[in-house]
């Protein structure tokens, strides 16, 4: 029983921590994100397994984590509100070349992040070439270019 409770507690703790940390926290694997992920996984390992290094315990922990994941995905599928709170909704951060600064500040995104996404995904060079930039649920920025002038 303890293994199941431990695994569930760790899962929900991490879910809450990374949810409130904001969607940009692990959205792109920068060097600092990579270091953070490595340290967190190392810290979590002990809490998940404890002193019991048996195959049975590992199996129960894995089954619990996968089970919760399936349960949450079903919850999100059937309840829109649950999906909104667990995953959030995408929102626009640049509209017709203009930064919606309040939204960007709150989401910890700056103009350089948007321009980088625009260069990488659309080969755009300037902000005024962007029709919409959207901060997606996974923290990535998607860019829709302005239609090219004839």
């Amino acid at each position: 029983m303890e293994s199941v409770i431990r695994a569930a507690a760790v899962y929900f703790f991490l879910l809450v921590v990374f949810r409130v940390a904001g969607r940009r926290t692990l959205s792109e694997m920068t060097m600092f994100d990579f270091i953070l992920l490595m340290i967190v996984s190392e810290a979590v390992q002990e809490a998940l397994i404890g002193d019991d290094r048996s195959l049975t315990n590992s199996g129960i922990v894995i089954l619990t984590l996968v089970g919760i994941n399936i349960g949450l995905s079903m919850l999100k599928l059937n309840f829109v509100t649950a999906e909104k709170w667990l995953d959030g909704r995408p929102f626009i951060i640049v509209e017709h070349g203009k930064c919606l600064q309040e939204r960007m500040d709150k989401a910890r995104v700056d103009k350089d992040d948007v321009l980088e996404a625009a260069r990488k995904s659309q080969g755009l060079e300037r902000l005024d070439q962007i029709k919409y930039a959207v901060l997606e649920r996974d923290g990535q920025i998607s860019v829709i270019p302005e239609p090219s002038q004839p």
Binding site: A9, V16, V20, A21, G22, G50, D51, K84, W85, G88, R89, P90, F91, I92, E95, R103, K106, Y132, V134, I144
Partner: protein, 163 residues
């Protein structure tokens, strides 16, 4: 806004997003308070956790942590300020012993005597010195360290074990 909705359908819900931002910032504040509390010792090993207790008219000084963590090894340190020739008898309550796993005792006791409510650890100590109990709490929640020298009432020292 209406024109935007027609052009791009992403299911934006800014009212909910604003609530999320507020929750995020409140959570960051709470997180900062937890970190500060941990630095001060409220999660164990710090200014507010380190305790040294001497019972009135006792030669036993007990050092322990007010806050501990489940299954984390810790130390109960007993300093004997005034020792008579011969053996020193330290009593520890059975209820406390039921909540911990004793890992090691330094120096090792000569023998251990079992009683109904406590165990008596008998040490061959002729000089003032330290006795160290290394142990792990095996139950989370509040508990009391019950400890004392023979023929003295047991001291009850509160300890909280985080899960």
């Amino acid at each position: 806004m209406a024109a935007r909705k027609q052009e791009i359908d992403i299911g934006e819900d800014l009212t909910q997003q604003r609530k999320v931002w507020v929750i995020e910032r409140v959570s960051w504040t709470l997180g900062a308070i937890v970190i500060l509390g941990a630095l001060l010792g409220f999660a164990g090993h710090g200014k507010f956790s380190d305790r040294e207790v001497t019972a009135p008219e006792s030669s036993l000084v007990v050092s322990y942590q007010r806050f501990e963590r489940y299954h984390a090894q810790t130390l109960l340190s007993l300093r004997l300020a005034d020792v008579e020739e011969g053996e020193t008898r330290v009593r520890i309550g059975q209820e406390f012993l039921g909540n911990i796993e004793v890992m090691r005792i330094e120096p090792e006791p000569e023998r251990v005597e079992l009683d109904t409510d406590f165990m008596t650890y008998v040490f061959n100590a002729n000089t003032p010195g330290l006795i160290l109990f290394h142990y792990k709490p095996v139950n989370p929640g509040p508990m009391q360290i019950e400890i004392g020298l023979a023929d003295e009432p047991l001291q009850r020292l509160p300890q909280f074990v985080y899960p």
